[in-house]
């Protein structure tokens, strides 16, 4: 039985769970219902407005972020406690060696704990979307966000999303994100978003948090980890055991993780060049040959063999279609004045004669 909303006072609206969902925008049916109901019952509008303000005010509640280290420590403590007690071997080591041993063991435990924390929780129901080399696929997520997966990529997320926790996905490979905005709070800093307002992409070393934007993320093997932002605001974080690096990105910026220096670096770029693949082209601008070879490997699963090392020092400029590897190879060979031979997954770049 639906309550009689015409007798509702401010407090009653605030307490009504469907009204709360309407204010939070978390339930499309509730939003529709209340918009119509309020239009039809102007007498109740002042009370409902007060209630909206109250719900919004209380909606500013947020939990502090607990330290990952404390969590890892407590998880480790729990693991030790529940495992069968084993007779501890007496270690007769001394001085520095012992210290190192202890430090090593501690580090190992911490890494274990942190790794566990960063990965999608095992045992939960998950959905995975994957593409083969050269394949592209657009995926619509439960919140309406759209992800275009580039070739050779994998996106993992929970099967069920709720309004209480951040929207989270895990990416291996490359993808272009168009994330729907769920919060009603204007100019909310990403770091302070609560509930499902935040959308987080876990991509290798990087955690990319947004509220609603378009951006491109690359997480390829050997630490090739980049984010480029087309619109909106993005918070990129790199968390390791001892450090926490965070950068707020503006449109037109690229943030990458540099494994050598183990830090985040930011440059100004043309973001469209990085996301053009999602609309069918590749934009090269003095792109060095090794980067193109990497692209063939990562996105198309092709191994490129170059006969003449001088070719590696060339750069490529131009816009090429990326629908199929063969068409791309043909266009590339034409622009470079070479010919290509393909055998299975191997491509040879050869001089014309």
């Amino acid at each position: 039985m639906a309550p009689d909303y015409t007798t509702f006072q401010t407090e009653d609206f605030v307490l009504d769970e469907s009204f709360q969902a309407f204010v939070a925008g978390s339930d499309a049916a509730a939003v529709q219902f209340w918009q119509r109901w309020l239009a039809e019952h102007p007498a109740q509008q002042p009370a409902a407005e007060q209630a909206q303000q109250l719900v919004l005010m209380l909606g500013q509640a947020r939990q502090p972020v607990t330290s990952a280290q404390r969590k890892a420590q407590d998880l480790q403590r729990l693991r030790r406690a529940i495992r069968q007690p084993q007779p501890a071997p007496m270690l007769r080591t001394q001085g520095l060696r012992r210290k190192r041993l202890v430090a090593g063991a501690l580090l190992f435990l911490l890494v274990l704990g942190a790794g566990f924390w960063l990965w999608p929780a095992a045992g939960l129901q998950r959905v995975q979307y994957a593409t083969l080399g050269g394949e592209q696929r657009a995926v619509q997520l439960p919140d309406g966000s759209v992800v275009v997966l580039n070739g050779n990529s994998r996106l993992t997320t929970a099967a069920n999303w709720d309004a209480q926790s951040p929207r989270e996905v895990w990416l291996e490979g490359e993808a272009f994100f168009r994330v729907s905005h769920l919060t009603r709070v204007p100019n909310l800093p990403v770091a302070q978003a609560t509930g499902n307002a935040k959308f987080v992409v876990h991509a290798g070393e990087l955690n990319v948090s947004v509220l609603g934007t378009t951006f491109n993320v690359i997480n390829r093997p050997d630490g090739f980890n980049k984010v480029t932002l087309n619109s909106g605001k993005v918070l990129v974080e790199h968390t390791s055991l001892l450090s926490h690096d965070a950068l707020l990105m503006a449109p037109g910026e690229l943030v990458e993780f540099t494994p050598v220096r183990h830090t985040l670096a930011k440059h100004a770029v043309a973001p469209e060049a990085f996301s053009a693949w999602a609309s069918g082209t590749l934009v090269f601008d003095h792109t060095p040959m090794p980067e193109i070879i990497r692209l063939f490997r990562d996105t198309y699963g092709l191994e490129v063999v170059v006969a003449d090392p001088a070719l590696l020092r060339q750069t490529v400029t131009g816009t090429l279609p990326n629908k199929s590897a063969d068409v791309l190879l043909k266009a590339l060979s034409k622009s470079m004045g070479i010919r290509t031979e393909r055998h299975g997954n191997q491509v040879h770049l050869l001089p014309l004669n």
């Binding site: 401010t10 407090e11 605030v14 307490l15 769970e17 407005e49 007060q50 303000q53 109250l54 919004l56 005010m57 209380l58 909606g59 500013q60 509640a61 947020r62 939990q63 502090p64 972020v65 607990t66 404390r70 969590k71 407590d74 998880l75 403590r77 729990l78 693991r79 406690a81 529940i82 566990f116 924390w117 929780a121 095992a122 045992g123 939960l124 129901q125 929970a158 099967a159 069920n160 309004a163 209480q164 009603r184 709070v185 204007p186 100019n187 909310l188 302070q192 609560t194 509930g195």
Partner: protein
């Protein structure tokens, strides 16, 4: 309920499912515990004991509909027991049985977004901290953890109706504050529509 298989796997002795439950709920439990007593060591120890006990008793545990309120309830009881034990040890008489927790709202609990000026923010905290203890706790579970009335009643061992009553009274007090704020806002500009 997506949580159910995880809980069942844990009851069957799946250690990974068990640690997943720990990892997924640790932060919320820690924050709730800290809200109740504000003693980090006590909260961490209580969470630890709670999970160790769960693991020992996994074979005899029952199925739960949702994991989170169940864990909250057990943590609440455990912290309460630990507090009583500590007070007994210190020979301090615990006369107010129900008022063992001291939920205090601090500035960091609420965003200082455009919605609230810093003055209003301070007023909000002042009003919240004047509420009776249980009203503060109910508000915390409702607005910081997003629990439904039913789940709050499970956590605090109250009827759903008393939870509603508690929140109702808390909201009434907050409404007075809001009306003051609105009057103030009307001076400045019109209330922003969205």
């Amino acid at each position: 309920m997506p949580a159910q298989p995880l809980w069942d796997a844990f009851r069957q002795g799946d250690e990974q499912a068990f640690t997943t439950i720990f990892v997924e709920h640790y932060e919320a439990l820690y924050n709730y515990g800290m809200k109740l007593v504000g003693d980090e060591e006590l909260v961490r120890d209580s969470i630890q004991e709670l999970f160790q006990k769960l693991w020992e008793r996994r074979a005899v545990l029952e199925a739960v509909e949702t994991i989170k309120p169940y864990l909250f309830k057990v943590l609440r009881n455990r912290i309460s027991d630990n507090l009583k034990m500590a007070s007994r040890r210190s020979a301090r008489q615990q006369s107010y049985h129900e008022e063992e927790f001291e939920v205090v709202y601090v500035p960091d609990d609420f965003l200082t977004a455009e919605q609230l000026s810093s003055e209003q923010h301070a007023q909000l905290l002042a009003v919240l901290n004047q509420l009776p203890q249980r009203q503060r706790e109910v508000l915390y579970l409702k607005y910081f953890d997003g629990f439904s009335y039913e789940k709050i009643s499970e956590v605090m061992s109250l009827t759903a109706q008393s939870v509603r009553n508690l929140i109702y009274r808390a909201i009434k007090a907050l409404k007075e504050l809001l009306l003051m704020m609105l009057a103030y806002l009307l001076f400045q500009a019109q209330v922003r529509y969205w």
